[in-house]
């Protein structure tokens, strides 16, 4: 693999992740519809629709969910371009690659024939379509959640749902330090790129990568020790306490009513 590719690909990946984190922070503080709802309500209802997407057996429900998700995104000040771009980046291409062969190899009734032989079956087409729709829907709902809920509010909601507090504490701190380490790793790649003239062999790249990984490991080790001391210094004795600031308002109840009604209708139509 060419040296340029190795660095470029990694830098692209890390930069994308960094930008995504900043984007979610920005969007989740905008004055949109979903942003104004209590985190607990969103944590309950959005995954509920993902489950409904899983239960669906045909396209109408799946299409309805996608339209709903898109509408909610727009109402929550998530620009359509941003939303769709994220959708495209994260999975669907991979899924299309997975789904396409299914068109041709799934046994069943012929849909598309060529010279008398069945090329695409009905079952194959449906299967591929269902898979793609499910993936797109689920991802849309997941993005809605993270685009409209700051990470610390999300964790507060999970805490309220009685997820073990030690797990919540770890999730919070991990999130905080991922950005830092992403930045550290990215900087290493960038500085190598700026100093590179000519090419390195694959083996040289791998060795450098090993050192880069080790550098990040050492930094995370250092942080781990020092953060512990910083926590002790301010009285940490095993529990992180938080001020709970979650409060349900009228709009939350309206949303719950709407979500439950929509969900009930979809479930009814699935099992009709």
């Amino acid at each position: 693999m060419r040296e340029g590719d190795f660095l470029t690909r990694n830098i692209a990946g890390f930069t994308l992740a960094l930008e995504h984190i900043v984007l979610t922070e920005d969007l989740s503080h905008a004055a949109g519809l979903l942003q104004g709802l209590d985190a607990r309500v969103k944590v309950l209802t959005l995954p509920l629709f993902i489950v409904i997407v899983g239960l669906a057996r045909d396209f109408p429900v799946l299409i309805a969910v996608f339209i709903m998700a898109l509408a909610l995104a727009l109402l929550s000040k998530v620009p359509a371009a941003v939303f769709l771009k994220r959708l495209l980046i994260f999975i669907p291409i991979f899924t299309a690659v997975i789904a396409i062969p299914a068109l041709f190899i799934t046994p069943g009734d012929p849909l598309v024939t060529a010279s008398g032989r069945t090329v695409i079956t009905v079952q194959g087409a449906r299967s591929a379509g269902l898979l793609v729709m499910r993936v797109v829907d689920s991802l849309s709902l997941g993005l809605l959640l993270i685009f409209t809920t700051p990470w610390n509010k999300l964790l507060a909601a999970l805490r309220w749902f009685h997820l073990p507090s030690i797990v919540i504490d770890i999730l919070g701190m991990t999130y905080r330090y991922i950005f830092l380490l992403l930045h550290t790793a990215n900087s290493m790649f960038l500085s190598r790129q700026s100093r590179t003239v000519g090419r390195f062999t694959g083996a040289e790249n791998r060795r450098w990568l090993g050192r880069a990984v080790a550098t990040v490991m050492v930094k995370s080790q250092y942080l781990s020790e020092e953060v512990y001391l910083a926590m002790l210094s301010r009285g940490y004795q095993g529990e992180i306490y938080t001020l709970s600031s979650l409060a349900l308002r009228r709009r939350d109840f309206i949303w719950i009513a709407f979500a439950l009604a929509a969900a009930a209708f979809m479930i009814w139509s699935i099992y009709q």
């Binding site: 990694n10 994220r86 799934t106 689920s138 999730l171 991990t174 790249n205």
Partner: protein, 343 residues
């Protein structure tokens, strides 16, 4: 290896959450016991590091690239239970924050990559390394080989979960409702992809990091020597059981049913008559999964699912037994002040 939402049916997702949950519970308890107050900062930074590790795009000889998971490496440094917890944290963050891996499939992904992968990898590392020196080549090989097979085990399980979907969950006309490829495609594809690409990537990354640690931070590696032997026993069981689960389809290849597991019908054929006692007894117990099949599915799928469920049930019972035994033992040794043990 991250399975997105939509590839697994809700039933499969639910099952995998149930299967993984005990491991999460045990992992939290175990890690807390060892790390105590350091648990939160240690695990958080470990998870953050693992997250970064999974992002690296690693070049292989020949031009392909891949990503590592690193679960075996974490298990080697901080023990398998810390790996279960930290890799699970990473997978959760990837799923929620980045949409990499689904929310409903988080249970399955955690089982494949946070439980099976590090435990198999760690077990093989221990077996190959034996009692060799911390800085020996043998240990390095153990780490690389362990991580390779750990990843492979996870990949095969993933193939299994995906491959049974069309068999179990399809519309009346045969349309697969979730992952569209049956076991005969899913497993070979996952196997080949990981044997040839992802496996070597994992081995290379694990090997490089291990090598670095051997040279500069060998104390991190020797910490594991202090592990209680109880941990080893658990590993042996887990390793054996996982292997068994995979080997069960081979049983189907063997012609005829296992010796002495004949049901009444088979006996009649063989012997020409049914022993009277057997006949009266055979109606009392109608097994929930008759003939190890799940009604409506193919042979292989049902067989494997039954095996997995059976193994989990047996494993859980064994674990309970182990706990009961060890609690009895500690009561004998414990002083009057020890009282209630902390989680």
């Amino acid at each position: 290896m991250h399975i997105p939402d939509g590839y697994l049916s809700p039933a499969t997702c639910g099952t995998m959450y149930v299967v993984t949950a005990p491991f999460w519970v045990i992992a939290v308890k175990r890690v807390r016991k060892i790390l105590n107050h350091r648990t939160v900062p240690a695990l958080a930074l470990l998870a953050a590091f693992t997250f970064i590790l999974m992002m690296f795009n690693v070049p292989l000889p020949g031009g392909t690239t891949g990503h590592a998971v690193g679960g075996t490496m974490v298990a080697i440094v901080l023990g398998p239970w810390a790996a279960v917890l930290s890799v699970s944290v990473v997978l959760a963050i990837q799923a929620i924050l980045f949409g990499d891996g689904g929310l409903t499939t988080l249970g399955a992904n955690c089982f494949n990559m946070a439980v099976v992968l590090p435990m198999v990898g760690y077990y093989i590392y221990k077996v190959i390394s034996g009692n060799s020196e911390i800085d020996s080549k043998r240990r390095l090989v153990g780490a690389a080989v362990g991580s390779y097979f750990g990843l492979l085990a996870g990949a095969l399980l993933t193939g299994l979960e995906l491959g049974i979907q069309p068999l179990l969950f399809h519309a009346a006309d045969g349309t697969p409702l979730y992952a569209p490829y049956a076991l005969n495609i899913a497993i070979p594809v996952m196997a080949i992809g990981h044997l040839a690409i992802a496996g070597p990537v994992e081995a290379i990354v694990t090997g490089l990091v291990f090598l670095y640690l051997q040279r500069s931070h060998s104390t991190l590696l020797s910490r594991q020597a202090v592990q209680r032997s109880e941990g080893k026993l658990w590993l042996i069981w887990s390793g054996a059981l996982v292997l068994l689960a995979f080997a069960t389809p081979l049983g189907l290849l063997a012609a005829g049913t296992a010796w002495a597991e004949w049901g009444a019908e088979e006996l009649q054929e063989l012997l020409g008559y049914i022993p009277r006692g057997l006949q009266s007894m055979s109606d009392i117990w109608h097994a929930p999964l008759p003939d190890y099949t799940i009604p409506g599915t193919g042979d292989v799928a049902g067989y494997i699912i039954s095996a997995v469920i059976g193994i989990i049930a047996v494993g859980f019972l064994l674990w309970l037994l182990g706990r009961w035994i060890s609690r009895k033992g500690s009561v004998k040794q414990g002083s009057s002040t020890s009282g209630v043990s902390k989680a």
